[in-house]
């Protein structure tokens, strides 16, 4: 068996713990400084509408001024090139309006009337409308939270079943590490939080877990092969042995998502961007955080193996 020279990943573990805590602190301070998350329509009920205004002087300032005349408050963002005069309008619905049957019509109509008053009748073309009612939105938040928690729990149980508790605990911490960082980053750069963001987070959890499990698998194998070896050397060896796999896999996902990032717009583009960052963070956490933590939880000794678990033995 060829033993590569192990790279001393675990030697920098305290730096890594420190770096992780510092990074997470920075992005969350950033989020708080930004005044919280930029909640998308899925979590902040109301109307989101993309309109094209067929008037040459429809600048964003004029559109904002025009909408001030309406009884609802709209936020306006440009979409695409300035010459297209396309804008995204957002209006937030109040909880008291939850039972109104035609809230969507009311909000959309208010925007249209206000804009046409300034830019002329028939000048406003609605390209895209999205409306989420207040009650649906709160349902979604509750549902999302439960689903995320349940998913993490089942994954924990699976790893516990396949490995040992110390592995599972370390994997879960590495797993929580990634979404916490990504969420903070999303808040800091004010990326819109939508259900797609939930998809990103669960995907990153899945990916980071992949990496962690590949490393853990190798650690378990090495424990049998090199009995009596220092645990930190052992995990360094395992990480080194799986390093090219970890990097190549991360790189291919990044390549695939880069294509999505380049060719799409809006929510999907954000999705790809968050995923690329997430894969980088996930790769980092499984190399520098998960394995050293596992040793820490196992008290510096190899976690006792269950006899039942059959792993392919070394020599064949």
């Amino acid at each position: 068996m060829l033993v590569k020279k192990a790279i001393g990943f675990s030697k920098v573990r305290y730096w890594a713990y420190g770096l992780s805590i510092a990074m997470i602190a920075v992005v969350w301070v950033g989020t708080i400084a930004q005044g919280g998350f930029n909640l998308g329509i899925d979590f902040k009920p109301g109307l989101s509408e993309t309109v094209a205004i067929g008037s040459a002087d429809a600048t964003i300032e004029k559109v904002r001024d025009a909408l001030k005349g309406s009884e609802h408050s709209f936020t306006v963002q440009p979409v695409g090139a300035a010459a297209d005069h396309q804008y995204q309008l957002r209006a937030v619905a109040k909880q008291s309006e939850a039972k109104e049957a035609n809230l969507q019509e009311k909000l959309s109509g208010a925007a249209q009337t206000a804009l046409e008053k300034v830019f002329g009748a028939g000048s406003v073309k609605v390209e895209q409308t999205e409306f989420i009612g207040p009650s649906l939105s709160s349902e979604l938040v509750v549902q999302t939270t439960w689903i995320a928690l349940a998913a993490v729990l089942v994954i924990l149980l699976y790893i516990w079943f396949r490995f040992k508790f110390a592995y599972a605990l370390a994997a879960i911490i590495a797993l929580i590490h990634d979404p916490i960082f990504i969420l903070g980053l999303v808040g800091t750069i004010q990326m819109e939080v939508t259900t797609a963001t939930i998809a990103v987070i669960l995907t990153i959890i899945g990916y980071s877990l992949n990496d962690t499990i590949v490393v853990f698998d190798r650690i378990r194998e090495n424990i049998r092969l090199h009995q009596g070896m220092n645990m930190y050397d052992l995990i360094d060896l395992a990480i080194t042995q799986t390093l090219s796999r970890t990097l190549v896999s991360s790189l291919t996902v990044i390549l695939a998502m880069a294509a999505v990032f380049l060719f799409t717009q809006g929510a999907i583009k954000d999705f790809a961007e968050a995923l690329i960052i997430g894969v980088v963070v996930g790769t980092y956490s499984s190399i520098f955080v998960a394995a050293p933590l596992m040793v820490l939880f196992a008290g510096g000794k190899p976690p006792k193996e269950k006899e039942k678990v059959v792993v392919e033995t070394a020599e064949a």
Partner: protein, 582 residues
């Protein structure tokens, strides 16, 4: 398993997938766009098309017939032989051995018959095309453009109105009835291929309307409460008014509607209204039958809200279809009185100002259980639907609403195709450079995986959205990852001095549980995602889940077979698995 058997399994699977994928491919790539448009057209469009085609073909045939009745059938029209043959056989006539145009015309007694036969043919062709369309991989609204509305049935209000708590059965019934109402309305609305379904386990209804939809008309259709009533027909007034209209045809406008205001008072008295009787034809489009005058005073009128249930049954003796409906207690006593005073008169079922059915009252009907007979199966079924769906049982609240313009949809399709294409080129290119020969294995596995995923999506008639394309692209990453795990393991073993065949064998064995573990954990995450009720995330989760399962297959099975082929059949002595020499 022998290699031959494994190859057989793979080829079989690919063949089955290809077969399932065939309708989708033929639809998107080989069906002329005119046909596609027709198949997604409204009922009126389909009827107009069928009628025009039938008329044109008939004229063409008549022109040939006029020249020479003994001339053969034009090649592009030989389908009429099958139609004519069918008629010959039903009439028990000898079927001619060689068909001439005259023989075809002999199969029909009148020209109208022939026209009807041709129309039926075109109608059936289009419904077949519509059926195909239902079997293919659908494009989501974000790709095709269209409107998606989620509505909640306001059961709290219904509860308040009723004064007591609703049982689960009551709730289910209210939502089911609301859906039926929306469905029957949307038919008359002429929207092509609407989807109206309950969001399972909730009081919500999902309405999807593809294509360019006018939001205002949709709002009207969602909002309208609908009105259903049973009115006594005034036979004398009906005769009088129809005679008057016949004498004054100017009151009928080009849509066939009568300007009621112009009918003089002495022709149509107070407490009466003129209604038009329509029946649905075989295209499902309203056809004018006649005009009747109904009484609208309270005494002669029963509001549809009193109807509690309607069923279609068969008379045990005569086997005739009968429509049975029940009334609540207020309705029952009113109806008992109304029928008692009007024995021998006709009662009209009026839905949204149109008469849908009529029945003669043979006796007083107390007690609120009503039986109506004298219809054929189709009319009886229509009446049952009308009675059941006349009025919305609950208020509907719009919960979410998305409308995407068709041009925006086209942009989304382009960006989706571009990201799949470039994602594949980048990943495949990288694998070739990094793993050289083995990169081909990975890429073959990748392409097979993509093929399988699309086929499975198609088989289950799932909808392709932009997010499912994102899931699709991510699946590429996962498939490749599985191969990378295997390759790295093989490379390690190979570089430690083992023969290619042994290195491959050990590599696969060692990688097996790693791949299993990583796929299972991802699958857990994805399955939970699919529980999220938002459609967009579901699309992502579903395509990922299928991708994960098929990635297990392609990496452990397909890729392995290719390796074995190289070592056993090609007797490769050297493995090409790395971009650099050890």
């Amino acid at each position: 398993m022998t290699k031959r058997f494994r190859l057989f399994i793979i080829v079989l699977l690919l063949a089955v997938s290809g077969w399932f994928l065939y309708p989708t491919v033929s639809w998107y790539f080989f069906t002329p766009s005119a046909q596609k448009e027709l198949a997604s057209g409204s009922l009126v469009q389909i009827r107009d098309y069928a009628q025009k085609q039938a008329r044109d073909r008939l004229d063409q045939l008549k022109a040939v017939y006029a020249k020479n009745p003994a001339s053969p059938i034009p090649a592009d029209l030989d389908f009429v032989v099958a139609l004519a043959k069918h008629n010959y056989e039903t009439a028990k006539l000898a079927v001619p051995a060689t068909w001439t145009i005259g023989d075809v015309f002999k199969a029909y007694t009148t020209e109208a018959d022939f026209l009807y036969g041709l129309e039926e043919k075109y109608r059936k062709d289009l419904s077949a095309l519509k059926d195909t369309k239902a079997k293919i991989l659908q494009l989501g609204l974000d790709l095709s453009g269209g409107m998606s509305v989620e509505i909640k049935a306001d059961l709290d209000a219904l509860e308040k109105k009723k004064g007591s708590a609703l049982s689960q059965a009551d709730r289910d019934d209210a939502v089911a009835r609301a859906i039926e109402v929306l469905k029957s309305r949307i038919d008359t609305f002429g929207v092509s291929e609407p989807v109206i379904k309950r969001v399972s386990g909730t009081d919500k209804i999902n309405v999807e309307l593809p294509g360019d939809v006018d939001p205002e008309r949709v709002n009207a259709f969602l909002r309208g409460k609908g009105s259903l009533s049973l009115n006594i027909v005034d036979d004398d007034a009906t005769t009088k008014v129809n005679q008057w209209i016949a004498a004054n045809p100017a009151v009928i406008n080009d849509k066939g509607e009568v300007d009621v205001a112009k009918i003089p008072q002495d022709v149509m008295g107070a407490g009466l209204e003129l209604k038009t009787y329509y029946k649905k034809d075989r295209f499902g489009i309203d056809q004018f039958v006649n005009r009747q005058v109904v009484k609208v005073e309270d005494k002669f009128f029963l509001d549809g809200i009193h109807i509690t249930a309607a069923t279609l049954e068969r008379d045990p003796v005569s086997n005739q279809p009968t429509v049975n409906f029940n009334l609540d207690s207020n309705g029952a006593s009113h109806f008992g009185q109304m029928t008692g005073e009007n024995v021998g008169k006709t009662m009209a079922v009026v839905l949204d100002d149109k008469i849908r059915a009529g029945a003669r009252i043979s006796q007083a009907i107390p007690g609120g259980a009503v039986r109506v007979t004298g219809f054929d199966q189709k009319d009886a079924n229509d009446l049952k639907t009308t009675l059941k769906t006349g009025a919305l049982p609950v208020n509907l609240i719009v919960q979410s609403y998305t409308n995407i313009g068709a041009t925006l949809g086209q942009d989304a399709i382009n960006s989706g195709i571009n990201s799949i294409l470039w994602g594949m080129i980048l990943v495949a290119g990288f694998m070739l450079v990094y793993y050289k020969g083995a990169g081909i294995n990975a890429n073959v596995a990748l392409i097979i995986n993509m093929f399988l995923v699309i086929a499975v999506l198609g088989v289950f008639n799932m909808t392709l959205t932009l997010t499912s394309i994102a899931g699709f692209v991510l699946t590429m990453g996962i498939t490749v990852d599985a191969n990378v795990i295997i390759f790295e393991r093989i490379k390690e073993e190979y570089w430690s001095g083992k023969s290619p065949a042994t290195a491959i064998d050990i590599g696969f064995k060692r990688a097996f549980w790693t791949i299993m573990d990583s796929h299972v954990t991802s699958l857990i995450a994805v399955l939970f995602l699919s529980l999220l009720s938002k459609g967009a995330v579901q699309g992502f989760a579903v395509s990922m889940a299928i991708g994960l399962v098929s990635s297990l297959f392609t990496s452990l099975f397909v890729s392995r077979l290719i390796f074995d082929f190289e070592t056993d059949v090609l007797k490769t002595k050297k493995l090409a698995i790395a971009w650099r020499k050890m």
